[in-house]
């Protein structure tokens, strides 16, 4: 029986190799650098005072606007044509803007302070750095988004059932056990995560925080305004089908699915395509340009 060399044995045991120049395969090196990059990005984001406020802002904005929307809605006795799950998640319209600030600041603040040069000196694999940033931001948004969505649904359940949305009117109270409601809830959390990736990608391309956030918000908020005034129903449908906000928010629909311009999961897929295009574009430019 032959014994494994000490460095290899150490890595098999999950320890750091004693000798950094020891034989390591490329994959392992990649994983190590990704883990280190994740650690570095997590430390950066965690120690910024703004991060915790923005995460709290995501939760507060979602729950506050959703509660206001559900508290304002009442169902008259002759029936109402309202999608209770979608209404309970109205706050996502606002909190996506807070998500965009968080994601844009994660990269733009490095450019505005010149920190990006230290980061890239320490981590020369630029795409790894971007992937780590994306993972950390997405993870934080997923966590905050989950709390926000659960809080909104709880508020919606309380307000709507006291405003005439009762089983007698054909509205069972909101429950995650209901398939479409679960899809709307989980989809809204994913929606916020995809908005974070879209913003991160655009901010990597544009670099300046103000211009980047303006572009992101324009991309999101202009489509419903234009869709409302275009004359041709084809254009109207196309905008609702392919614009990131209207397509992505199709995931919140639980009633009248036949009338939707795009089905819930396909809509989220359109937003995912936007987000991946932005992140890929950002990654490519990050590799090609000087920092």
């Amino acid at each position: 029986m032959s014994q494994a060399p000490p460095a290899q044995r150490a890595s098999l045991l999950g320890e750091r190799p004693a000798d950094p120049d020891g034989p390591q395969n490329a994959l392992q090196a990649g994983w190590t650098s990704l883990r280190e990059a994740l650690h570095a990005e997590w430390t950066k984001l965690r120690t910024l005072p703004g991060t915790i406020w923005l995460l709290a802002g995501i939760i507060a904005a979602t729950v506050a606007v959703s509660s206001a929307a559900t508290a304002a809605m009442s169902c008259p006795s002759r029936g109402c044509s309202v999608d209770p799950a979608k209404l309970s998640l109205t706050g996502i319209d606002l909190s996506q803007a807070v998500v965009a600030i968080l994601a844009v600041a994660a990269i733009s603040s490095e450019y505005s302070t010149g920190m990006i040069r230290s980061t890239l000196t320490a981590m020369p694999r630029r795409t790894t750095m971007l992937a780590a940033k994306a993972a950390v931001v997405t993870g934080l948004v997923l966590a905050a988004g989950t709390i926000a969505v659960l809080g909104s649904l709880l508020a919606g359940r309380l307000f709507l059932s006291s405003h005439g949305f009762t089983p007698a009117h054909g509205y069972p109270s909101l429950s995650l056990g209901d398939g479409p409601v679960l899809r709307a809830a989980a989809g809204s959390v994913l929606y916020l995560a995809l908005i974070a990736l879209l913003s991160l990608g655009i901010a990597t391309i544009i670099r300046d925080s103000g211009a980047a956030i303006g572009t992101v918000l324009g991309l999101l908020y202009l489509s419903p305004i234009i869709a409302a005034v275009v004359r041709s129903p084809h254009w109207h449908n196309d905008i609702e089908r392919y614009a990131p906000m209207s397509a992505g928010l199709a995931i919140q629909a639980t009633t009248g699915l036949r009338g939707l311009p795009i089905s819930p999961w396909a809509g989220l897929g359109v937003l995912a395509a936007w987000a991946s295009a932005a992140v890929l574009g950002g990654g490519l430019l990050l590799r090609l340009r000087d920092a």
């Binding site: 929307a69 304002a72 809605m73 009442s74 979608k86 209404l87 109205t90 319209d93 606002l94 803007a97 807070v98 965009a100 600030i101 844009v104 600041a105 733009s108 505005s112 300046d208 925080s209 103000g210 211009a211 980047a212 956030i213 303006g214 918000l217 324009g218 908020y221 202009l222 419903p224 305004i225 234009i226 869709a227 409302a228 005034v229 275009v230 004359r231 041709s232 129903p233 084809h234 254009w235 109207h236 609702e240 209207s246 009338g259």
Partner: protein, 539 residues
Amino acid sequence: MTAQVTTPYRPPREEARDGFAQLLRAEWTKFRTVRGWVIGMVVAALVTVGLGLLIAGGGSSTCQNSPTGPVLSGAACLPPVPVGPGGQAVTDQFYFVRQPLAGNGSITVRVPALTGLYANGATAVGSPMTRGLQPWSKAGVIIQASTRPGSAYGAMMVTGRRGVRMQDDYTHDTAGLPGAVSAASPRWLRLTRSGDTLTGYDSADGTHWTRVGTVRLAGLPSTVQAGLFATSPAHSTVISKSFGGGSTSGGPSLDTAVFDHVSLSGTSPGAAWTGDAVGGQATGGAASSGAAEGFHQADGRFTVTGSGDIAPLVFDPAGSGFPTSTIERGLQGAFAGLIAVVVVAVMFITAEYRRGMIRTTLAASPRRGRVLAAKAIVAGAVTFAAGLAAALVTVPLAQRLDRAKGSYVLPVTSLTEIRVIVGTAAVLAVAAVLAVAIGTVLRRSAGAVTAVIVVIVLPYILGIASVLPVGAENWLLRVTPAAAFAVQQSLPAYPQVNAGYTPTAGYFPLAPWAGFAVLCAWAALALALATVLLRRRDA
């Protein structure tokens, strides 16, 4: 005794350098020498125009003049629309039983019955119509300059659900006796003409008369048409969908009024009554279901049946028979311009903080409030110029495109058009001032840009999206900075025309300048907060 007064030496004040004008020049120099900001303003103007033209030019309407005729598109679809004395587009379609009236005179009638029929879009074509009146089904006495649609008139009428009214020149409406007409409670109506003044009276018993109103119709010819009329606007129920789409279910309606005790003074004795469908026979299902416009006269009793309306034409994307548009539709591109303007205006101040330039600026001009004022004025003025240029180009071009694509652009007075154009530029300018103030408070670009865009654009989106109840939508467009877009509303909402006056259709809850004042109040509040913080905090 003389006292020697010595004054300590003070360097002569250099008024020009310390003055506010100098400060303005300094800020203007900063603005124009940063290439990104100038490009940002140009982009704001370009996207406003570009998006506006895209909205106006997108999609052409098609129409068919007869069920078997060729399908037309674009400008060929434009219907002839009568224009009223006030310059606004009107509907002038009613059944008129008339006699010429030369000089002064008076017409008095008693109306003992008003009944109606309407077709609902849900029922099949040709099936019998439902009995019932529309809220603004109307019948009564009218004196009109001529039978040409759109000519000046004054009328006293009973209505389906709005009691007795006096209306004139399409836009004016005065209430008379309330309550519905029946054989048990008939209504007496009288209209007198004296020169170019018409006076309307109503009465419940024919002896005690109340004056409802007096109107002057400038340039009324000496010979006018006086008589009885009946007309009834289309029945409609609006089903709204999210994000601006909407569909209506409805159909034509007609009403039949019975008149007796008809007396007409001032005409040649023994003259005969003639019946006319002014503005053409009502189209659609009204004729096919057996009931038709016309009149019947027996023993001094007149039965008049009519369909249509005598009212201003309103912008109702869901209800109108042919595609209409408003002059402000193309200006929706201003939302894209707004975002660019906000980014530039926020950076105008946050860049100073990022680069540490603010310390130099405040060392050169220690009165901090004036620095902020100068920045706000420069940002506002530059934005106003860019916004005005964009709106001046967009409005006429979008109207031409709209017409070419077959939409009838509802005419407005030039004063209104100027208000819409200048108002749009002013909204952008005040938004820039708000952005400078919020940028000073938050100091960070991303947060400040988001805050300004969210407070202006998001309430507007939620206001027009039809996801919230109408009460909440109106509330949002009353108290948030989004109220300012009321300044773009070119057509008023007329209570005497039943239509979907929702924010989605472009009708705001506040009057144009009142809405603009809401944004100004927000900007003033933010500026006050920014001044206080700028003075208190270290730079």
